[in-house]
C-alpha cells in the first residue's frame, strides 16, 4: 500500500507550521469571505443560517477539515514507524494537525446556527 506522504515529508520541520498555516489561511478566508460577501451582497436576515454564503463557507470548512485530517493521519503513521528526531517531528506534526482540525471544527461550528450578516 502506498504511504499517504513520503517518509521524509512526514518528519520534515515544515510539519510544525503546515497545519496551523492551513488553519490561519482558512480563518482569513472565512472572516474575509464573510466580510466581503456581507459588504457586497448580504443575504436577507430572514433566511437565518440557511444561506448560500453559509453553505459555501461550510463546504470550505469541511474541505479544510478533510485536508488536515489526512495530514494528521499521514504524520501519525510515520510517527509509529520512525525513531528519534523524525519520530519526534512526525508526532509533533500529527498533534498540531489534529489541533488545527479541531480548531477548524470548533470555530466553524457557528456557521450551522447563525445568520451571516446580522
Amino acid at each position: 500500500m502506498r504511504r499517504p506522504l513520503p517518509r521524509l515529508t512526514a518528519g520534515h520541520p515544515l510539519q510544525l507550521v503546515l497545519g496551523l498555516t492551513i488553519w490561519s489561511l482558512w480563518f482569513v478566508a472565512l472572516y474575509g469571505g464573510l466580510s466581503v460577501a456581507c459588504a457586497v451582497a448580504p443575504p436577507a436576515p430572514t433566511q437565518g443560517a440557511m444561506t448560500g454564503l453559509n453553505l459555501w463557507l461550510g463546504l470550505l470548512t469541511l474541505a479544510t477539515l478533510g485536508l488536515l485530517g489526512w495530514l494528521a493521519r499521514a504524520c501519525l503513521t510515520a510517527a509509529w514507524r520512525e525513531r528519534g528526531r523524525t519520530r519526534f517531528m512526525a508526532a509533533l506534526g500529527a498533534g498540531l494537525h489534529l489541533f488545527s482540525a479541531a480548531g477548524v471544527a470548533f470555530v466553524g461550528l457557528p456557521l450551522v446556527v447563525l445568520p451571516p450578516c446580522l
Partner: protein, 845 residues
Amino acid sequence: MSETPHSASGDAREAERLHRELAAVWANPRGWRALTVVNHSTLGLRFMATGLVFFLLGGVLAMLVRAQLALPDQAFMAPGIYHQVVTMHGTVMMFLFAIPMLEGLAIYLIPKMIGTRDLVCPRLTAFGYWCYLFGGIILFSSLVLEMAPDSGWFMYTPLSSAEHSPGPGSDFWLLGITFVEISALSAGVELTVSILRTRAPGMALHRMPLFAWYILAMALMIVVGFPPLILGSVLLELERAAGLPFFTVSGGGDPILWQHLFWLFGHPEVYIIFLPAAGIVSTLLPVFAGRPIVGYGWVVAAIVITGFISFGLWVHHMFTVGIPQLAQAFFSAASMLVAVPTAIQIFAWLATLWLGRPRMALPMLWILGFLIIFVCGGLTGVMLALVPFNWQVHDTHFVVAHLHYVLVGGMLFPLMAGLVYWLPLVSGRMPSERLGRWGFWLTFLGFNLTFLIMHWTGLLGMPRRIYTYDTAMGWDLYNLVSSIGGFMMSAGIAMVLLDLALHFRFGRPAPPNPWGADTLEWSLATPPPPYNFASLPRVETRHPLWENPALGDEIARGEHALADASHGRRELLGGEALTGRLREVIHLPTNSWWPLAAAACLAVVCVALLVRLYPLALVAFVVAALMLLRWSWENGAHPIAAAMGDDEPEAPPLHSRTHDGPGRWTMGVALLADGAFFLSLLFGWFYLWTVSPQWQMPERSPLSLPLLVGAGAAFTLGALWLERRLRALRAGEDDGLATALFAIAALGGLHLLLGAALLWRAELAPTASAHDAVLLVGLLYTLAHGLLAGVLAGLQGARAALGLVGARLPFEPEVVALLWRYQLGVYWILAAALGLLPRLIGGGV
C-alpha cells in the same frame, strides 16, 4: 589512566593561554569606546538595566494614577495630566519595559543556553539597543514637556487624530514607538537566526532547551506581529502631518482600520510577552522539581499553537464596534481555543511538580505566585471571550484588572523568578533569601489587593480612563483598597530592587551551578567571560549538565571545538537548523561605531519629524542610510571582517566562503517582517475598498498600464539575470561578474525611473481621497525596495571588481538575490491589486 602532576600543570598553562587569546579577541573596550561594544552579554544587560529604569518610571506613573483614584472627587491631577499619565503608564510598561526586558534576557541567555559565543549579528544587537534607548528617551521626554500622548496606550482614532489631539502628543507616540519597534524587530530577526543556525553541534531541534523554543516562537511572532502596528503608525502619522485621510470617513478612510491594525499587533503582543515568561517557568520548574519536564513534546506543540492562534483573536478587542454576529462567534471561539495550549503547559508544569521533589527556593515562590495569578487571569480571559459578557464589561475596570492579571501574573512574576535564578550567573553572588521572600509576599499580596478588588469595581460599572468619580457611584472603598494594594506592591518591588543592589556587595559568593541546573549556561564561570565558551561542546541531550557535571571544566580546558583564537577572528560554529549538524565556521564582526552612529541619525530623523523640520529629517535619513550601507560594506572578505588568508579553516569553511551563511537567513527573516508589513498594507487597501462608508474608486485607474508593466518588466529582467549569475557562481564561474552585477543594478535603476514616472503621471490627490493616499504609499513602498535592490546590486558589482565577491566568495550575491526575489513578487502583487484589479472588477464595490 591517571594524569601526572606535570601534564596537569601543562594543561592548566595551555588553558590559561587559550583564555588570554580569547580574551584579547573578545574583550569589551573601556571608556568612550565602550559605546562600540557589540557583545551579547553586555548588550543584554544594558537592555535589562534600561528596561528596569523604564519599569520604575512606569511604576511611578501607576502610583500617581492610584493616588488620584484613591478617593472620590480628587483634584490631585488635572484631567489632561491624568490622561497623559495613564497613557504613558500603559505605553511605557508595554513598549519600553515588557518587550525590551524580555528581549534583553533572551539576548543575554540564548547564546549561553545553545552553546555558542554570541548572536549572529552582533552589530544589529547594538543597533537595536541604541534605537530602543533613543526611542524611549524621545517618548518619555514628552511627559517631562507636558506634551505626552493622552489617547490611551492603543491610540484609537479619531481621538488620536489631528482634529481631536492637535498637540504633538500623538506624534511622540507614533514616532517614538516606531523607533522602538525597529529595536524589537532587530532582536526578533537575529534571535530567530541564532537559534536556528548556531546551536551547539548535535543539538537537534528535539534536544533544544525549552527556553530556546519559547524565544524562537516569540522572535518569529515579533517579526510577523509588529509590522501591522508600524504600518498603522506610519499611516496615522501621515494623516496627522500631511493630511492623508486613511482613518477619516469623509476622505474615504475608516477609523476602524486603525483598530484592526493595532490589535493585529496588540493581541499577539500579549503572547509575545507571555511566551518568554512561560519559557522561564519551563526552565526553572524542572530544576527545582529535580526531574525533566513532563511532556516536552506537548509543551513544544503548545508553544507553536499559541504562536499561531494568538494571531486569530484580534477582533475580540472589537466586539462592540459593530461586526456581524457570525464573525463575532468565529473570534469568540478562537479566543477560547487559545486557552488549550496554555492549559497544556499548566498541566505539564503541575505534573512535573507532582512527579518531582520540589525545593521551595526563592525562584519557586515567584513561580507559584505566577501559577495562581495567571490561571485567574486566564479564566477571566475566557469570560471576556464570551460576547455577551464582553459587551457588559467593555471599557470597565474589569478589563483593566484582567489585563494586569495576565500581564503582571504572566510576565512580571516569572521574570522575577528568572532574575533571582540567573542573578548568580551575572554577578557571581547569591541573592538574599530573607529580603527576597519579603519582596515576594509584599508584591503578591499587594498585587491581589489591587487587582482582585478592581474586578468588582469594574463589575459595578466603573469605566476605565476616567480621572475621578462621584462618591454616589459606590466605588469609594474598592478604589481605596486598590490604591493601598498598589502601594504595598510598590514596597515589595522596592524590596526586590534593594536585594538586587545589595547582593552585588554583600551576597554570598555563588558556587558553580548553584541551583543544580541542567542547561549549558551553568557550565560557564560566574560571571561568564565575553566569549562564553573557551571551546564549543557537542551536545546530544536535553540535560547536558545533569548527564555530564564535569562539562564546564572540559569546556574551560579547551577540550572541545574552536579552542583557538590565534587568527584574531571572533568565531562560532554554524549548524543545520534541523539536525544541528556542523556546516561552517561563522566569523563575527567586532566592536563598531556604526550601530550607534546610525541609530543617532535615526533619532535625529525622529526629532526632526516631531518638530516638522522635514528637510533636516530627509538629510538625517540619507546619512543614516549611507552609514548602514557602509556597515554592510565591512563584511565577508573585507579586511575589517575576515580577509582571505592562509589561516582559514577548510573543513568546515568560513561562512562567507559558502553559499548559505547565516546572513542569508537573516535577510530571509527580515523579509518575513517586510512581507507582514506589505500584507498589512494590502489588507488596508481591501478593507477600505470593501468597508469604508465613503470610499471612492475612480472610474478609470490613474496608474498608466504601459508604465506599470514596463517597470515590472525591467525589474523581472534584472532578477532573471541575477539568478543566472548565481547559478554560474555555484558552478564556480565568475567571469564578467562585476560587469553583470552593474548591468543588473542598471536594470534596477530603469525600474526605479519607470516607477517614478508612473507615480508622476498618476497625478494623485492623496490628501483628498484615501484611495489615492493608499496608492501613493503602495507605490512609494515598492519604489523604496526597487531603489534598495538596485543599490545593493551595484555595491555587489563594486565588491566583485575589488575581489571581495567571486567564485571563492559567493555568499553576498545570494543574500542580495533574496531581496530581488521579494521585490519581484511584491511588485507584481501590488501592480495586480492596485493597478489591474480595479480595472477588471470596477470600483463600485
